[in-house]
């Protein structure tokens, strides 16, 4: 019995001693860390995903505290975290435009034509090298073999009906899918952008007509009808200027091919 008591007492004493010793050491050897850095670190999500390009959240916190990184540098935290950090740093939250990835193609299986049946390696990069740039008649469209899906760390992009589709809520605009797409179909657009051209085909109208039921043929109808002059047509492809767009929706309504979403 005494053995148990001695053992408990000694281990407890050792533990207590270590605790007090470490506590004192922590005070004694305290290194002055920028208090802002600690606060910023607390505000960050803390997943250490590295999406910002720094070595984990603490790396980003140090950079923000030193003023080397923007307060909105965390792609995961979004506007909320950026606002908190801006408050800590005492700067006006720079216009925090939440961005989201957008796939500029809506040529789903039922809308597009195929030149042949492809049964090879299911990888977008590979498909880009097969004759005709893949089985899809449109040489600009989404292959739907999911390189972007594999690149996404946030489960925010999926292949639906043979075309990649971004889940706007889950997307953190990290840009990995943008890099992964060999067709350069994905771009980062403002989260608030109401109308987007879901086509990247630079082919002339008749070619697009044959390949896809919902491709932009460069007909200029949207441009002519846009009240705020926000649409430009280059290479037979409409492009919306998100700064000028007021979101009236006339373009979407008038587009004969329903290429604007």
């Amino acid at each position: 019995m005494t053995g148990i008591i001695t053992a408990t007492a000694v281990v407890a004493a050792v533990g207590l001693f270590i605790g007090i010793f470490l506590g004192l050491a922590a005070i004694q050897f305290r290194v002055e860390v920028d208090p802002k850095e600690e606060l910023v670190l607390e505000a960050l999500p803390g997943n250490n995903c590295g999406g910002c390009g720094f070595a984990g959240c603490s790396g980003l916190a140090a950079a923000i505290a030193k003023g080397e990184a923007r307060v909105s540098a965390c792609p995961v935290g979004g506007a909320e975290v950026a606002g908190k950090i801006a408050e800590i740093m005492g700067v006006e939250s720079e216009e925090m435009n939440r961005m989201t990835a957008f796939v500029m193609c809506k040529g789903t299986c039922d809308k597009t034509a195929s030149d042949y049946v492809y049964t090879g390696v299911e990888d977008c990069k590979m498909v880009s090298f097969v004759p005709g740039g893949g089985a899809k008649s449109c040489n600009y469209g989404c292959h739907g073999y999911g390189n972007c899906v594999r690149a996404c760390s946030f489960d925010a992009i999926h292949i639906v009906d043979g075309v990649a589709l971004v889940d706007k809520e889950a997307c953190t605009a990290c840009g990995r899918c943008v890099e992964a797409c060999p067709k350069h179909l994905i771009e980062l657009v403002p989260y608030t952008a109401k109308h987007l051209v879901a086509c990247s085909s630079k082919d002339k109208g008749p070619v697009v007509m044959k390949a896809c039921q919902t491709g932009c043929i460069g007909c200029q109808i949207c441009k002519k009808n846009c009240p705020s002059d926000a649409i430009e047509i280059t290479d037979f492809l409409a492009k919306i200027d998100y700064d000028k767009c007021t979101g009236c929706g006339i373009c979407e309504e008038k587009c004969p091919k329903k290429a604007i979403v």
């Binding site: 053995g3 281990v11 470490l22 050897f29």
Partner: protein, 193 residues
């Protein structure tokens, strides 16, 4: 205790019964941090530093706390406690006074807390009935053995990168095979003492 005996212990625990390759302790950092020679050297240095200190502290505790109270059966638990606290303390100390060393050891220092080689050395010191001084020498030599093994493995792994390895052996399997071959090679030191 003469110098000759200390030397024998040093050679014995660094080469002959190498901590990784013959006792199979500390395999996690051995495999995990041996991708580049640079990081392997950092890890080796941190291990030498911590194990030497830990041997001194655990030896003292064993001699002057556990033995008098006749509770040597609690060595494992007390050693773990002490080692964890020690690593914490060393980290704080280095952060304050040797920022350069702190940054070069970096993330490896806290990692060592969970390195079983540290505990293994402390327990071995007790098992072989080393006193505090001999324990420190044994700890230092063991850690040097760890550093030698991890640096060699890192060097080999850097070369392996360029080899055409069969698919089934790519990654960790080939590293384990390499480590096994190294262990066989180190077996050759058995006749040294």
């Amino acid at each position: 205790m003469d110098v000759k005996e200390l030397l024998m212990i040093a050679i014995g625990s660094s080469l002959v019964s190498n901590v990784v390759l013959s006792q199979f302790l500390g395999l996690c950092p051995f495999l995990g941090v041996s991708r580049k020679t640079e990081t392997a050297v950092g890890m080796g240095a941190a291990v030498i530093f911590v194990i030497t200190l830990a041997s001194a502290v655990t030896g003292t505790i064993y001699e002057y706390v556990l033995k008098p109270f006749d509770i040597t059966f609690l060595q494992t638990i007390v050693f773990i406690l002490v080692i964890a606290a020690l690593v914490q303390f060393v980290e704080m100390f280095l952060k304050k006074f040797m920022v350069g060393l702190y940054q070069s050891l970096g993330v490896y220092l806290p990692l060592i807390t969970t390195n079983c080689a540290v505990l293994g050395v402390a327990l071995n010191n007790v098992k072989y009935e080393y006193n505090v001084l001999t324990g420190i020498v044994n700890g230092f030599a063991t850690a040097v053995g760890f550093a030698i093994a991890i640096v060699i493995l890192a060097g080999i792994r850097e070369k392996i990168e360029y080899n055409d390895i069969p698919r089934s052996f790519q990654g960790m399997p080939i590293v384990l095979i390499t480590a096994g071959l190294m262990a066989i090679a180190f077996f050759g030191f058995a006749g040294l003492l």
